[in-house]
């Protein structure tokens, strides 16, 4: 915990990429905080963003444990996300065509069980395949699942989707009514008024310190964020434990050289299956959260583009690095929501007689696609290991001294040096 006592020293010990990421995260946090204080960023929307980012982080963790550790090219992320979402929705929603009205906990359990069963069913044929065939086959099977969700109206309501999903805490003591029972709370960062830092000329000046009023939607969002943080925390904890172990070591060996793992007596098919199911469960967990956040699910939620968002997050963060996956998840949401704003921007320039209007209406979608595409290509071309490549040895904690830190020795140094 020397970050508290000697932040400058700790910062200097980081690799350059880590420093960059740290600075970016700090700057972004300040920017958001500033937005909150100025009143331009609605605290409820902020909470929504936080929840969404955590959801993507969950998906990235799931994919990371498949691709990052084991080298499984799974292009069916969206399908498992959808299975999680539909699994809980069909159990709990009032409009469910099969079995609505159950407690969301039941929904959670059913969703995870279904996801595990389908993961095994998909894994049995595909995990025997060559890596690139797995990519094609998993994309194909994900599409089969999407078609089923879209067309089997008796089972899923088809294209109409499932409405009337309760919040996750419905039926719980206290938490069920928490958002309504919380009083309207006013936060006044600058007591007795606001501070105008500069005159708002040319739109550059700004004022901070307006009152922020927190109402029921905020408390509901806060509850959702707490839920996803619990999901995220549990998943992260479990994954970290299993990855820094002989088990995780075998996975990484399979990724690097599957034949070697086989020659050393590892039943690689079994390890791949375990890794595939584990990752799919984490993805389904993200889907469960989404269903109870959005309170509505539709076949559009299984669109393959979600799969590729998550891929970008994992590659960006660094394949095999769980903290990288968290970071990547947040960046992807920044891209998603950032490009959404493009649709609302229009610039008008008054050039004397003629007025020129630039409108970005409708460009959000393609710009997002372009950005995602460019990030993939640039990363693969110049930094295929991602921004925060894994640095810890996969050795059970406590049995070996932590890698010594310092300029002369250690994996950290040698691995981090690759960005020079």
């Amino acid at each position: 915990m020397s970050w508290l006592t000697d932040p400058a020293g700790e910062f200097a010990d980081l690799t350059r990429a880590e420093q960059g990421v740290t600075l970016f995260v700090v700057a972004f946090a300040i920017y958001l905080l500033f937005g909150l204080l100025r009143g331009t960023l609605d605290p409820t929307y902020f909470m929504f963003l936080l929840g969404l980012a955590s959801m993507y982080a969950l998906l990235s963790l799931g994919l990371n444990s498949q691709w990052g550790f084991t080298g499984l090219i799974n292009f069916s992320v969206a399908a498992f996300f959808g299975i999680g979402a539909y699994g809980t929705a069909l159990m709990t929603a009032s409009s469910s065509p099969i079995a609505g009205g159950f407690n969301p906990i039941v929904g959670l359990v059913v969703a995870l069980v279904v996801a595990a069963v389908i993961a095994v069913a998909i894994g049995i044929p595909t995990l025997r395949l060559r890596a690139d065939y797995l990519a094609i086959a998993s994309l194909g099977l994900a599409e089969v699942i999407r078609r089923i969700v879209l067309n089997e109206q008796g089972l899923t309501n088809g294209s109409a989707g499932v409405r009337g999903i309760p919040s996750f805490f419905e039926g719980w003591p206290v938490l069920a009514t928490f958002p309504q029972s919380m009083p309207e709370t006013t936060i006044d960062p600058v007591p007795g008024g606001s501070v105008t830092v500069a005159e708002p000329v040319f739109g550059i000046g700004f004022t901070v310190g307006q009152e922020i009023v927190l109402r029921t939607p905020f408390w509901r969002a806060l509850l959702n964020v707490s839920l996803v943080f619990v999901f995220l925390g549990v998943s992260y904890g479990v994954l970290r434990r299993v990855h820094r172990s002989p088990w995780g070591r075998v996975l990484r060996t399979i990724r690097a050289d599957e034949d070697l793992a086989r020659a050393l007596g590892k039943d690689t098919y079994s390890f791949k299956m375990q890794s595939f199911v584990l990752g799919s469960l984490v993805m389904a967990l993200a889907g469960v959260f989404y269903a109870h956040l959005n309170l509505y699910v539709s076949p559009g939620d299984l669109d393959p583009i979600t799969t590729f968002y998550v891929w970008v997050a994992v590659i960006l963060g660094g394949s095999g690095s769980n903290r990288g996956a968290l970071f990547g998840g947040f960046v992807v949401v920044a891209i998603r929501e950032g490009t959404r704003f493009l649709n609302q921007i229009s610039l008008s320039l008054d050039l004397g007689a003629t007025e020129v209007v630039f409108s970005f209406e409708g460009l959000g979608g393609p710009m997002r696609l372009l950005l995602i595409g460019l990030i993939i290509v640039v990363l693969m071309r110049f930094r295929p290991e991602g921004l925060l490549p894994p640095q810890r040895e996969l050795i059970w904690p406590g049995t070996v001294d932590e890698v010594p830190e310092g300029p002369d020795v250690g994996v950290r140094e040698a691995r981090g040096g690759s960005d020079e």
Binding site: V242, W247, L260, L264, T268
Partner: protein
Amino acid sequence: MRDRHEGANMGKENVVLRVENLEKRFGGLVATDDASFEVERGTITGLIGPNGAGKSTIFNLISGFYEPDGGRVEVNGIDVTGRKPYEVADAGLIRTFQTPRKLEGMTVREAMLVGPREQPGESFVKLFTDPEGVASAESANLAEAQRILEEFEIDHLATQPATDISGGQMKLVELARAMLADPEILLLDEPVAGVNPTLRNDLAEQIRRLNEQGTTFCIIEHDMEFVMKLADPVVVLNQGNVLMEGPPEAVQSDERVIDAYLGGDA
């Protein structure tokens, strides 16, 4: 040519690896044709032959990477024909590869630790139900890995990234790691290909030392000098079939072997 194939000496005592009438075809091409030989416990058996003689195919058939079209493979008296590689490894046979692939993102000792078989920490469930057991096994394996690295005199590499060491060092690490799997018999696929002369001697010394400590070896190698110095007996393969077997001197002076090598590429 075929009538001149006298084959290997069968009927040895205390056999670790027995290969009988092994066959493999790829499409119309016969890669292994009725190959039989035995590896006696405690020996270093060399497997040589001209290019295309089917050496690598036989290794892949024995270790379970290819499925044979006919014949039988026995390790320690257990029939492992057509079994999966991990099942063959469980029977006590470990193999290395001609070109070791670099284990990206792993340190040398991490890569070493993949070697030990049946680690409790490789069970997902035990990571949660028996963390103490996992930890003690891990400590023991780590100490063993360190010990073997020291014996190989490469313990200074332990925390180096596995991608940063030389090809020759990687071969040493491979051999060291294979020893962690505690094999009855170790199949080495061209252990000194692309290795500089100094490391080559190191490898030969290590193999001899391990053999004296009780490990049986079966080695494919192109470097004749290396094989003839180390191995006894030497089995000669030609056109997917065992041409002869004998001590190195006998093999070197055998006319059929010389013919096979001279005519091998024709």
